[in-house]
Symmetry: C2
Subunit: 203 residues, 2 copies
């Protein structure tokens, strides 16, 4: 193989490592690795140090299961936030997206996945048990289910609704409809159907 | 800022580091960092180790200036390759792309950049002097200029032609024209004009 001649092993090693990341093919990995090689060595060392400390510095918050350096995390331990409202999300990235809106002041519960029987992911593989025991402590009034409106997200929401409605807690779901700023003629038919079905009454 | 609450500093550090790479915005950097956090710690350690050794393991080949762990590099020291033909490229990535074609058996010279007066990059900032002294040793018959057919690539090629034609060496340039497999009606006008101009005679 000619590439053996051309790519030094130390570079190849980094390319292989980058290629394992989602959405990074071998071309992008090569481009990134070459770019790092052209930058000051201090930047590569900083990235290496950040990677090396990542897993040891970050754990799951024992309450909401999000990634955190502290336990409980800064959200769970913030006295100004409303612990009686818990928003259930699939991943920490969803939590971050909701926090960015600056319009939610409750707590969270991160499932770390969605139900996917085909991949062998059932309720025990995601943080459902932890959610149920949080609810059973009695401190939670409302659970806002904020899984994605994808097929596995919806299936997970259905499962949660089924499982949690026996518990003394109100359930709610993120509204589904036309995205802000979208022209109706460009909305897909499923979103549009859902928006009609979930129309809000005026006056 | 709410993001201070939500992203643990150790994660933020990696995101910031990834965000400096070309084509990686803060959203992609966050996605990659979260993905690494979900993978086994051994993978992050491997990536950290690859990054840490990168700059110390790789230097420039003193002959062709490409990235290499050995000096001279494996191409320059390969006795089966033709050292009288030297292909001048902008970056090591271009060399890799040409090697992949498996249709070039000469040597290379990597400029590590293109002329860009606006950014203060003149001939002394790229490896032109090294190319001239290689030619002056007299071992080179032909220099194939393979800079990109972009504005700075063409400007660099013009400069090189101007500078090298006083030396006892043949100069050539990569052919420009319609890419293989492209429908003529989709070719841009500049490529098409160039293809007409550089048409090859038949028979």
């Amino acid at each position: 193989m000619s590439s053996l001649h051309v790519i030094p092993p130390a570079l190849e090693r980094l390319i292989r490592s980058f290629s394992q990341l989602p959405g990074i093919g071998s071309k992008t990995a090569t481009r990134l690795a070459l770019n790092i090689l052209r930058r000051p060595p201090a930047e590569a060392r900083e990235m290496a140090a950040a990677l090396a400390e990542l897993h040891s510095a970050i754990r799951l918050c024992s309450r909401c299961m999000t990634f955190s350096e502290k336990d409980p995390c800064l959200i769970c331990s913030d006295p100004r936030r409303d612990g009686s409202l818990v928003c259930v999300v699939e991943q920490p990235a969803d939590l971050m997206a909701i926090e960015k809106t600056d319009s939610y002041r409750g707590h969270y519960h991160v499932l770390h996945g969605v139900l996917s029987p085909i991949d062998g992911i059932g309720p025990d593989e995601i943080k459902v048990r932890e959610l149920v025991s949080r609810i059973k402590t009695g401190a939670i009034d409302e659970v806002l289910i904020a899984t994605s409106s994808t097929v596995p997200g919806e299936a997970t929401a259905s499962y949660l609704i089924d499982r949690l409605q026996q518990l003394p807690v109100k359930l709610s779901r993120l509204a589904c409809g036309i995205p802000m700023g979208m022209d109706i003629k460009y909305a897909d038919q499923y979103t549009l159907a859902r928006a009609i079905e979930s129309r809000s009454k005026l006056g």
